[in-house]
């Protein structure tokens, strides 16, 4: 699948709210075509490249700003969530001030949901970072191909150091979330898990879950072999539960509640 199309699909299906924050791949591609076809002496290669670089940098600034803002939000929410859990345990838990199994379960359920969604959002941010990075790489590759210049390699080196690409902190928060989940969820029995999975979740619906499913599948798609495979390309995605995940994509029947 063409990257431009794939990118659009990714955005629309996973994070339409973030549409503006993604790479303007189409526009950049047009520019590249323009540059390569209209190599007039007045506009010169250097100027065109400078303009291209300028636009790319604007994109990068955009990514950085958005990413760091989200990251900041996540940091805050993460802490609040942790505190929330403690509060629930301390208030309605067995050793708490107002121990109440029912309340505890209720509140815990909410907390769990929050955590899982939070986890998903963070993962989607990492996905955002990745998608944009990939897009940048591709547009640079196109640029080099069409203009015969050597912009990609040095430029991408700089991109690697950009805040939006350095997703370590978010990843760390994600892992912490996963640990918290393990503590907060009741212990599951093996067979139940299998049964549950077999029951084919027909629902993706809206929400974080659906988004992550789509993101995952899209990633698999984009990494399928391509015609322009080179040594700078990523290998195909090895996704063990691919079938199961595919099944998540089925849309939910209209709720009759």
């Amino acid at each position: 699948m063409k990257f431009g199309k794939w990118l659009k699909q990714q955005i629309e299906e996973t994070l339409p709210a973030w549409r503006d924050k993604f790479l303007s791949y189409k526009e950049l591609k047009k520019l590249v075509r323009l540059i390569s076809s209209a190599e007039s002496p007045e506009y010169g290669k250097v100027d065109a490249e400078a303009e291209f670089v300028y636009l790319l940098n604007n994109e990068i600034d955009k990514f950085n700003a958005f990413f760091m803002e989200q990251e900041e939000d996540f940091i805050i929410r993460h802490r609040e969530l942790q505190q929330g859990i403690e509060r629930v345990i301390d208030t309605w838990g067995p050793n708490g001030t107002k121990p109440s199994q029912a309340e505890y379960n209720d509140e815990m359920a909410k907390v769990r949901k929050d955590i899982v969604d939070f986890h998903g959002e963070m993962v989607l941010l990492v996905n955002y970072s990745n998608v944009n990075y990939t897009g940048l790489g591709k547009i640079l590759k196109k640029y080099d191909k069409w203009t015969g210049r050597l912009l990609r390699l040095p430029f991408i080196q700089k991109v690697l150091e950009q805040p939006f690409f350095v997703t370590d902190l978010v990843s760390k928060l994600v892992k912490e979330c996963e640990n918290t989940i393990d503590e907060v969820f009741p212990v599951e029995v093996e067979e139940e898990i299998v049964k549950v999975q077999r029951e084919a979740i027909k629902v993706a619906g809206k929400g974080v879950f659906r988004n992550t499913v789509t993101a995952l599948l899209s990633m698999q798609e984009i990494r399928r072999g391509s015609s322009t495979y080179g040594h700078f390309s990523l290998p195909p995605l090895d996704l063990p539960d691919s079938d199961l995940i595919h099944s998540f994509q089925l849309n939910s029947p209209i709720p009759t509640v």
Binding site: V46, A50, R79, E80, V126, K145, G148, L153, L160, V196
Partner: protein, 468 residues
Amino acid sequence: MKARPALSIQISGASNMGVSEGLSSSLPAISTPLEDTYRKLPGTQQISAKRELMGRPLVRATYSSSNSGVVGHIFSSSSGFSSDLHYSSSSPHEKHSRNAPFISQAPTNGAASPLLQSSNRMMPQSMMSSQYYKENSGSWCTDPGFPDFPISTPVQSCQVESTNCSGIMTSEDLCKSNEWQEWAEQLITDDDALASDWNELLVVDNVMDMEPKVAKPCTSTTLSEQKPQVHQRPPSLSVASRSVVNSSSSANNAPAKPRMRWTPELHEAFVEAVNQLGGSERATPKGVLKIMKVEGLTIYHVKSHLQKYRTARYRPESSEGSLERKSTSTEDLSSLDLKAGMGITEALRLQMEVQKRLHEQLEIQRNLQLRIEEQGRYLQMMFEKQKSGLDKLKASPSSSENPQELPAKGEPEASQTNHVNSGTDTANVKSTLERSSEEMGGEQEAPKTTETGVSKSSSPPSKRPRIE
């Protein structure tokens, strides 16, 4: 051509006195370095730039507007600047040639920096800004690695050495006057505490290296958007502050809202400070800033962070009765309910699994990407070494070890082989990429020599060992 210190002097002058006299007294002092620095620029730019510098602050009547004028000045230049930095990467030669004058002028600018430092001391604000400045000007003058700047530094010039190009300001100023107004208004409406922090901000943004503009079209394009400078504290400061200050903003925000990268530790300190002040509602940005005592943290950062914090707290607190949560996640809940036969917990678990999987894959992908680029860089380096070696050997046939085995479907960084025999360049570097290429499963193709304008000869990895 680096009027950076000059600019700062002017700014601090403006903000200190708040009156034109301060400006006029400082201006003559800087006119000489300005002259020097502007010498290199095209004549008209030069003159108009100077006029801009001198003319604007004097025109402003009020304290705030003069500040904002100057600030806007700086910010516009800084926005132009960030693009310069970027340009620099594409035209290393130009850069290098201009770097030399810059460095040679460093001593003269170094002379200017005491001026700065003294004016910094006069500033109402804290050590923070002057310290910034001193550190920065110090390292700025003495940075040995400067010539390497275009290649090695990150786009966002997260280093002290980032500078601003004075030349850009001229044309940008004209267009920025509207934004100055907005900025002025915004600044005026903020609490007084902010006023004193302007200096900080200014200094923060001023601490940048000066990059010469590369091409004219750039000027016109930089006018369309303002991208404040990105900068990072010098190593000593950043260690102390535990945070990296990056500045970037969308075109909508006020110019140069420096963006801070928060960390959990920093946030923890923030929360403590807030609690000390009696909670998120009662705490003020200034108070928090004071308590936190973090270098590089400006009141802007604290303000926006506090806002976010309040929002985050308000929602959960108001929804103790689970109102909020229900309303915001009805869709999710209903979708969960439909997971027939499955308790919510199981559904969540499943969701978690998928998310985990996605995250895993993303991490793997990212690591791969890093490694690919690393290899590419290494390859490039080897290639250049080889090339220089070959140039010396000239007509030596020995270097064409494996002319047939060069998979040529590679990155055009190899197009430097224009000068070199296509079959020879990557012979030495194939082994380095052997491992990664095996993992990549890259295709192998016959070496292509020159294509239209592009020489794609062979730097990509080969699966075969170099020495068979």
